[in-house]
């Protein structure tokens, strides 16, 4: 055993460059995989932290049915399911600075109760004492923005009146101060807030923390069973499944990176091992001739690959941890909310990354090693080994069939099988292309032989001819194809995720919106602003209307469904629904439901639904269902019937288009004056969202560089292998009169052609891969991916550049070549 290990180590030492390339490729794969897994977990954790916001460790919230109703903490009975509870009083006001109004949500609670669920963290680390009267605690993000210091006085507009507060403490932007929307949250003494808003009868909300080991569902069931019907609304604070699903959607590019990096690694290790075993044939022959069994030879060679796998895998994890910390540190800094993203390293990510690195090293070496150890001893010893290969038509036929199946499978399977089909399709497309590449190379070389013959005569023609039936060339093209298509697919999917998440108004016509109470006169004034094209005012019912017992979190009413459709980019479930809904809205009590809401109610299009606000009720016919990223509305009804049935007079939301949306927005803000509102142009909204989401997706761009690095390592590895295998051929050419200059020209033409073909194949296959990815993701998204030709062409050009620059080493090495040494043996 010692001799075998010594033999393996000597091999490693003797082939330093090759060993380094193999180790590096495994290390990078392991690092990438580890970072992808951990980023997804860390991102999930950050999402959860943001989603929990002020709820802290509470998982269930209890509201009174009406906005003005209050809850008392004593209303909630003592249950073994409950660990702690806190009553929260919440109101809103404005902070006015330099003509800009910022919404400040005021909250108050019994501090001893609050501490048990979500204790505020003061910046100076002290405990909160003597917190009473006109005092306020603000988060550092707000105080830093406006240059406010502890002890300063600030004035807030409460109900149109200025109220002065002393800044008692500055808190860290977390716990109760963390929020998902713009604006700030401030903590006031409970007596002060209740006095200011005359809410001495109780709280708006009670937050419940479950006892240890109690699930959210059990807690909700337990509370619902003891609380009287109708007086309390018990709900889950965060939907953990939804958060996980959202996080998974955003971490999709990271997994794609892992997938491609693994594919590249497999190819690098496989091709390296093919050469290694070829190099070692004399040694294998010697081993076999002195009595080593097939198994023993396989074991010796595989032990070497295991060594590479273990070392690469082990070192990949600490490197991954460093990369992860670096990335998350950068992310936390660039998030506008200033949220620190926790570094979540799970045993799963460590074990999975190491095992995968280990496994790919072993499996990639398996085929060439087993094949070599099975060779007849006599042939190996005499050096007369002829590698049997399956018939060409069989390979190409299988490749073509697999390619077609891979394209069509995701289109044909049912929705619940899409992920599986997508995985098969992506792997299938890559595998099929690898099988077809030799045929394509041969066909293209025939064409190029003619073209180069015209352009650079015999040297060009020979370079093109040399590509035909040349395993080194097809290997180069294959690696290039895997790398470039990986970069293209990751870039396109990454950019799409970025756009999809940050640009929710993509495809929507509106250019600005106002969210606040607006009278019809207010809307008329907006319509009369110069340059305004369309104004779409909406009645908004938030948690006010029930439909067959299901509470709608947001229901809107419009008097122009056509504009509503275009302004908010509604995607109807069926194409004909839009037209039917528009005509139905004009004539009848009709209602549109979002697809998720339709699913929740268990109703179907055509059913009748009874809308009720507790005091009035009316029947509406469901005329359609839709998806929209621009609005979180659950139901839409006609304005005229809303006004009759539920007595709404003022509008709650307004969307507009205009020649100068920014100018119109300034005037809308003026119209609101001191009235609470949230008004933004789409551009402003997108900039905010983009800076948040863009920060999350920054790591993906960093990881794309890793893929490029891995691809570059692969190409260099391949060029080294290529040169090693080609040395003899180059020497043969030299022996019959090929000059160094001619060799240089031939190598450059060959490299350029390889790069060009690799790039062309990558562009086509990555387009198919992207289609597969979006077919799989299709049911969950409402937007078509925009494919930029620039991304494809840039990736292709960089592939050509890599191959061309990679040809420098063979050119230099062949200048120093000793012809006799290469051809004699």
């Amino acid at each position: 055993m010692r001799i075998i290990i010594k033999y393996i180590l000597i091999n490693g030492k003797e082939h330093k460059a090759r060993t380094a390339v193999m180790l590096l490729s495994i290390l990078i794969s392991s690092t990438l995989l580890f970072v992808s897994f951990s980023l997804a977990s860390s991102y999930e954790s950050a999402q959860e932290k943001m989603a929990r916001g002020m709820s802290g460790s509470a998982t269930v919230s209890i509201h009174a049915p009406g906005e003005s109703d209050s809850l008392k903490i004593e209303d909630i009975p003592v249950l073994p399911l409950i660990s702690a509870k806190v009553g929260m009083l919440k109101e809103s006001c404005f902070y006015h600075e330099n003509g800009y109004y910022e919404t400040v949500d005021l909250i108050a609670a019994d501090l001893s109760q609050l501490d048990e669920i979500n204790k505020p963290r003061l910046l100076d680390g002290r405990e909160l004492k003597d917190f009473s009267g006109r005092k306020i605690i603000l988060p550092d993000r707000f105080t830093l923005k406006y240059g406010i210091k502890k002890g300063d006085k600030i004035t807030l507009q409460i109900g149109g009146n200025p109220v002065c507060f002393e800044v008692a403490e500055i808190a860290a932007y977390d716990t109760v101060f963390l929020r998902k929307t713009r604006g700030a949250t401030a903590l006031l003494p409970l007596s002060t807030l209740s006095g200011l808003f005359n809410r001495t009868d109780g709280y708006n909300e009670i937050l419940i923390k479950p006892a240890k080991g109690v699930s959210t569902a059990d807690l909700i069931n337990g509370l619902e069973s003891v609380l009287p019907d109708g007086r309390f609304q018990v709900s889950e604070i965060i939907n953990e499944t939804q958060i996980k699903a959202d996080a998974r959607q955003k971490s999709m590019p990271f997994f794609l990176i892992s997938f491609f990096s693994l594919t590249i690694s497999v190819f690098i290790i496989y091709s390296s091992y093919k050469v290694i075993t070829l190099d070692r044939l004399p040694v294998i022959g010697t081993f076999r001739s002195i009595g080593a069994t097939q198994k023993a030879v396989t074991r010796i060679l595989l032990l070497e690959s295991l060594l590479y796998g273990s070392i690469g895998g082990l070192f990949g994890i600490p490197v991954g941890m460093a990369v992860l910390k670096l990335i998350l540190h950068g992310m936390g800094k660039s998030l506008p909310q200033g949220i620190e993203i926790p570094v979540v390293i799970t045993p799963f990510s460590i074990i999975a990354s190491f095992t995968t690195a280990f496994a790919i090293s072993l499996l990639s070496a398996w085929i060439p090693v087993c094949r070599a150890s099975r060779l007849p001893i006599k042939e190996v010893v005499l050096g007369t080994v002829e590698e049997p290969s399956p018939p060409r038509h069989l390979i190409i036929g299988s490749g073509s069939i697999l390619f077609l199946i891979s394209i069509f499978v995701p289109k044909l399977v049912p929705e619940n099988m899409l992920n599986l089909a997508g995985g098969f399709s992506l792997s299938g497309l890559i595998a099929a292309t690898i099988l077809i590449i030799p045929l394509l190379t041969n066909l293209v070389s025939i064409g190029l032989e003619w073209v180069y013959g015209l352009l650079s005569h015999n040297i060009g023609r020979l370079a093109a001819r040399n590509m035909r039936d040349n395993k080194n060339i097809t290997q180069n093209i294959t690696l290039l194809f895997i790398s470039i298509s990986a970069v293209i697919a990751i870039s396109v999917v990454g950019d799409f995720v970025n756009t999809y998440i940050s640009d929710v108004f993509k495809g929507a016509e509106l250019q600005g919106f106002a969210d606040g109470q607006m009278t019809p006169e207010f809307v008329d004034q907006v319509k009369n602003i110069d340059g305004v094209h369309k104004v779409l005012p909406l009645f908004v019912y938030k948690n006010e209307l029930h439909g067959n017992g299901v509470l709608f979190s947001r229901l809107e009413a419009t008097d122009n469904l056509e504009w509503y459709n275009s302004m908010l980019a509604l995607h109807y479930t069926k194409p004909l629904m839009e037209e039917q809904a528009v005509s139905a809205f004009a004539a009848n009590r009709s209602i549109l439901l979002s697809e998720s809401c339709l699913k929740r109610t268990g109703l179907t299009v055509g059913d009748t639904l009874t809308l009720s606000n507790g005091s009035a009720a009316a029947s509406y016919v469901i005329t359609g269902s839709f998806k929209s990223r621009a609005t979180d509305v659950e139901a839409v009804i006609p304005c005229s019937y809303a006004a009759i049935d539920f007595g709404m007079k003022n509008y709650g939301f307004l969307a507009y288009t205009a020649t100068d949306p920014d100018g119109v927005m300034i005037q809308i803000r003026d119209l609101f004056g001191n009235t609470q509102n949230w008004s933004r142009t789409v551009k402003e909204f997108n900039e905010d969202a983009h800076s948040t989401v863009g920060a999350f997706l920054k790591p993906m761009h960093s990881l794309t560089y890793f893929i490029l690095l891995l691809a570059a390592i692969g190409v260099i590895n391949n060029l080294l292998i290529n040169y090693m295998q080609k040395r003899r051929t180059i020497a043969m050419y030299h022996s019959i009169g090929l000059s160094i200059r001619q060799n240089r020209r031939m190598t450059v033409i060959e490299s350029f052609s390889c790069g060009m073909l690799g790039a062309a194949i990558s562009i086509f296959v990555s387009y198919m891969e992207i289609r597969t990815i979006f077919i799989v993701a299709g049911p969950k998204i409402t937007m078509e991916p925009a494919l930029s030709a620039r991304t494809f062409l840039m990736a292709g050009a960089s592939g050509i550049l890599i191959t061309l620059s990679g040809s420098v080493i063979p050119i230099i090495k062949s200048r120093q070549m000793k012809i006799i040494e290469e051809i004699k043996f």
């Binding site: 022996s735 160094i740 001619q742 006799i820 004699k824």
Partner: protein, 228 residues
């Protein structure tokens, strides 16, 4: 014995070749001088490690001497630059190796035409010549085959055809039968002899085989780096 012309085809003067292996310097060729006349078929013989192949490669311009001069038809090749040396190899020299050294992914006729193509000549201008060479080497029915589809003897015939296609002034052969069985070896020697006889082709061949050397007009024996 065929009549020889009086022109010198290859002339080597005071050829010395040293190899350095770590600290040790090995004198492979020690002041070798020789002449080969045009149309001559010379065999270089000698025991393993005597320096015969090194001498052949130096004479053929594939290796350079540590000192000394080599003239091919009067041209001193000792100080030629790569471009000039490559042109010389394409136009004036033909080489046949023990292990054939054919380009595996090119077919027979492409392998044969390579020196001409590298020299920038047009395929169509040499169609007749190619047919003649294929006929001469008995490969007419194998022109579209790749080397891996040929036997050892056939591959060596392709190598000879490739060496002859450019009508070289001198044909160098390094143990052309060394990798072949005796029957095939004899056929290859017969072919070389025929070429020398019919077209007065100068041939310098390294061989271990006394049988093969019988086809030549003169034998030069190299022992311990010196011509005996």
């Amino acid at each position: 014995m065929k009549p020889l012309t009086s022109t010198i085809a290859v002339e080597g003067r005071h050829i010395v070749k040293d190899f350095r292996l770590g600290e040790t310097i090995t004198n492979v060729l020690k002041d070798v001088s020789l002449e080969v006349m045009q149309g001559e078929f010379v065999s270089i013989m000698g025991p393993s490690g005597s320096g015969k192949s090194t001498l052949l490669y130096i004479l053929g311009g594939l290796d350079s001497p540590t000192s000394g001069t080599i003239r091919l038809n009067g041209t001193d090749i000792s100080h030629l630059k790569d471009e000039q040396m490559s042109r010389l190899r394409r136009q004036k020299i033909g080489f046949v190796f023990q292990f054939y050294n054919l380009i595996p992914n090119l077919n027979v006729e492409e392998n044969i035409m390579l020196p001409l193509l590298l020299d920038g000549r047009k395929w169509k201008d040499y169609k007749k010549k190619l047919s003649y060479i294929l006929e001469l080497t008995g490969l007419s029915d194998r022109q579209k085959h790749t080397p891996r589809e040929l036997s050892g003897g056939q591959q060596q015939r392709v190598a000879i055809a490739r060496a002859l296609i450019g009508s070289p002034e001198i044909l160098f052969a390094d143990e052309p039968t060394g990798n072949l069985d005796s029957k095939t070896g004899a056929e290859i020697m017969h072919l070389l002899h025929q070429i020398n006889e019919e077209s007065k082709q100068t041939i310098i061949m390294v061989t271990h085989s006394a049988e093969a050397a019988k086809s030549s007009s003169r034998i030069i024996t190299v022992r311990d780096g010196m011509v005996e």
